[in-house]
């Protein structure tokens, strides 16, 4: 075996030491890591830039749409108000009591031998009903019967259109004065009728006819 002399062992040792210098290695590792992190940062920044562009585009779109949406919301609220108000007003209109049909019915009940001198009617609060005070005179051989006929007729007429109809005499008194009807003298009676009814109540269901068992 040939003898091999290393005369540069000190220089080689120093070179090896330089190569495994921890600071140098550390700096290299740090540099590599820094480069990786920088690349990752750039990638993220690029993505953020993309999102920002999207956001700007969306904001531009929204700024164009927003006034229309606000106007639509305002109009929607306005329409809802109109619908609700109209509904309430229609309810009020529909729940009114019409006096003209009542006056027509009353006029049909007054016979030639009766005269109404006063009518005082009122719609009770919250449309709970109608109350009418009717005063008048009736003449005939039996003036009280003429007044009663008027009451019966009124009860029948009002019962055709209204509910819970009540027609009662408040006063019924004979008068001393006579009146000439058709050339004949007739006695007179003064009456006061109180009528009350409910124009809006639902009609009560008529009871079913009783079945008669036939054997």
């Amino acid at each position: 075996m040939a003898l091999h002399l290393n005369l540069l062992h000190e220089e080689i040792r120093e070179q090896r030491q330089r190569q495994r210098d921890p600071l140098k290695i550390g700096m290299m590792v740090l540099g590599a890591l820094g480069a990786l992190m920088f690349l990752y940062y750039i990638w993220n920044a690029y993505q953020v830039l993309g999102i920002r562009n999207q956001l700007n585009a969306e904001q531009n779109d929204w700024s164009k749409i927003e006034p229309k949406v606000t106007a639509a919301q305002k109009r929607s609220a306005e329409l809802n108000d109109i619908i609700n108000t109209t509904k309430v007003l229609d309810g009020m209109i529909d729940s009114r009591f019409f006096w003209a049909p009542f006056l027509e019915k009353l006029s049909r009940c007054v016979a030639l031998n009766a005269q109404i001198t006063s009518i005082d009617g009122a719609v009770l609060d919250d449309n709970k009903g109608v109350s009418v005070m009717i005063e008048g005179l009736a003449a005939g051989r039996e003036p009280r019967a003429a007044a009663e006929e008027l009451r019966q007729l009124l009860l029948e007429q009002l019962g055709q259109s209204y509910h819970d109809v009540k027609v009662e005499f408040k006063t019924l008194e004979d008068l001393d004065t006579l009146v000439k009807i058709g050339g004949a003298n007739m006695a007179m009676a003064r009456f006061a009728l109180s009528a009350s009814f409910n124009p809006s109540a639902t009609a009560k269901a008529a009871p079913p006819p009783a079945r008669t068992s036939t054997k």
Binding site: G26, Y41, K68, V69, L89, E104
Partner: protein, 189 residues
């Protein structure tokens, strides 16, 4: 296993590298990546928020368009009802209107007095007021009155007669004196 023999100088350098590494990580996350992520998150949230708004706005506009179609009848009806309340104070136009109305029905010298005006309790009628009036018809016959009342009730939907008083005139029982208490819904102007 080969034991790593490090000199003091090497250990110092190693420690310095480690500190440098930690500082690098701190600076990177705190001053670069952290704010960037925060900014990205906030932008994403804003973008999603706008997208949601756009989605709901399309829905809202469709709903409004549908409502507009459905409410056409109500809108026309409402316009007709509001047209019954002219501009100006009701005391200025309601009595003349009643006078003309009854005059057209052959009932002259009608007077209308304002008794009171109150707001409605219903929230939907916050823009309307209830006016209570007394109408005096000094002389009419029953048949004319009946027709006039029927016409009044048909042509004035916002008017309701709450009280009616008819009594025969003492000197001429063929004619009657009539007092009507009416309430009208009038739009606030």
């Amino acid at each position: 296993m080969k034991k790593l023999n490090l000199s003091k100088d090497q250990i110092q350098k190693l420690a310095l590298s480690t500190i440098g590494f930690v500082v690098l990580l701190y600076v990177y996350f705190s001053f670069f990546l952290g704010p960037l992520s925060k900014s990205r998150d906030s932008m994403l949230a804003s973008r999603n928020d706008i997208r949601n708004k756009k989605g709901s706005s399309a829905n809202e506009m469709t709903k409004t368009a549908n409502l507009e179609k459905q409410a056409s009848a109500a809108t026309m009806r409402y316009a007709a009802l509001t047209n019954l309340s002219p501009e100006g104070a009701p005391i200025a136009w309601f009595p003349p209107r009643m006078k003309i109305f009854f005059s057209n029905q052959q009932i002259d010298k009608t007077t209308a007095r304002l008794e009171s005006n109150v707001p409605y309790k219903e929230a939907d009628l916050s823009g309307w007021m209830r006016y209570n009036w007394t109408l005096d018809l000094p002389q009419t016959d029953f048949s004319t009155l009946g027709k006039a009342v029927a016409e009044l009730e048909n042509t004035e939907p916002l008017l309701s007669i709450n009280h009616i008083n008819i009594h025969a005139l003492a000197d001429d029982p063929q004619f009657q004196q009539v007092t009507l208490s009416v309430a009208t819904a009038i739009l606030k102007r």
